[in-house]
């Protein structure tokens, strides 16, 4: 089974990468983009032998304890 975990900075947390990308788009000849915020994306495979509840609990733990840093980030899980 496959889940996607999307980790993004909390809205008020500074995102130096996003700011730098956005500020330099002009030199790439791209204008009209007013904001960029960068996050992380994880493609996670879990064993098919697990039941649905276990799978969900597993990915939830993975996201919360490992993939996201709860101090500055939040996460979202999407099952495919």
């Amino acid at each position: 089974m496959n889940a996607k975990v999307i980790v993004t900075l909390k809205p008020t947390v500074l995102d130096p990468q996003g700011i730098t990308i956005q500020r330099n788009l002009e030199s790439a000849g791209i204008s009209g983009v007013t904001d960029v915020r960068q996050g992380k994306y994880f493609d996670v495979e879990v064993g098919d032998d697990l039941g649905e509840a276990d799978r969900q609990a597993l990915v939830e733990r993975l996201a919360r304890d490992v993939l996201a840093n709860p101090v500055i980030e939040s996460y979202r899980i999407v099952w495919e």
């Binding site: 130096p16 990468q17 730098t20 990308i21 330099n24 030199s27 790439a28 000849g29 960068q38």
Partner: protein, 231 residues
């Protein structure tokens, strides 16, 4: 004969390159601001190491859009010597002037250390004075030096004798332990088809005086001078 060192915001090895080339070659060196568009009068250009634009997004990914890069490309196309060191190598792959890509180190962490390189070819203007097979003691300092390319590209690099340096152990073997970043086939540096553009992760600009631990980096700058004086 004049060297130009391109100055990108954050690519701070510009000063190291400037100083190293001046010390080693005694030739004139000038800084070129990345917003410039002309590179007239230069015989060789250096894309220095550092963290241009903080290495945000991907190392070298934002620098490649600087106005100067178009001129660098034209300069290379007309046969001028271009050396990209570390972040400069990343700019060269990002902009397509060299094939492949430099990914995050296999260990995921930044690594700064002295190591041994084996010179894989003397048939470039950057290694003309270095015997094939000679070991160079030159340091690395990067988080994204894991060279990767598809099989076809790799085969072509091999066939065309375009691999300039490999990471090797003390005895000259390209072992897995000697590979600091997971780079495919222990590749540390390559040249383009025209052989006038070199990208390398290790820093000759940090190893040009005995007091810094090694003088081997000199050989690369000296080779460039000799190649240029032959033309």
């Amino acid at each position: 004969m004049k060297f130009g060192v391109v100055v990108f915001p954050g690519a701070y090895c510009d000063h190291d390159c400037y100083y190293a080339i001046q010390t080693v070659t005694g030739k004139p060196v000038e800084f070129i601001w990345h917003q410039e568009t002309a590179v007239d009068g230069f015989d060789a250009l250096v894309l220095p190491g550092g963290f241009s634009y903080g290495d945000y997004l991907r190392a070298g990914a934002i620098a490649k859009f600087s106005p100067i890069m178009r001129s660098v490309r034209e300069f290379a196309q007309s046969g001028g010597l271009v050396i990209g060191i570390c972040n400069g190598f990343q700019m060269l792959t990002e902009s397509g002037m060299l094939p492949g890509a430099l990914m995050k180190n296999a260990g995921t962490r930044y690594v700064c250390r002295y190591l041994n390189l084996r010179t894989e070819t003397s048939a470039t203007p950057f290694t003309g004075d270095i015997d094939k097979g000679r070991l160079l003691y030159i340091p690395i300092g990067h988080g994204d030096g894991n060279y990767t390319a598809d099989e076809e590209t790799l085969a072509k690099l091999e066939d065309d004798d375009r691999i300039a340096f490999r990471y090797v152990d003390r005895t000259g073997e390209p072992t897995a332990e000697a590979n600091p970043n997971g780079s495919v086939s222990n590749i540390a540096g390559i040249v383009n088809e025209g052989r006038n553009v070199l990208g390398m992760m290790p820093h000759p600009d940090r190893s040009f005086e005995a007091i810094l631990g090694s003088e081997d980096g000199r050989l690369i700058f000296e080779s460039m001078v000799n190649a240029l004086s032959r033309v």
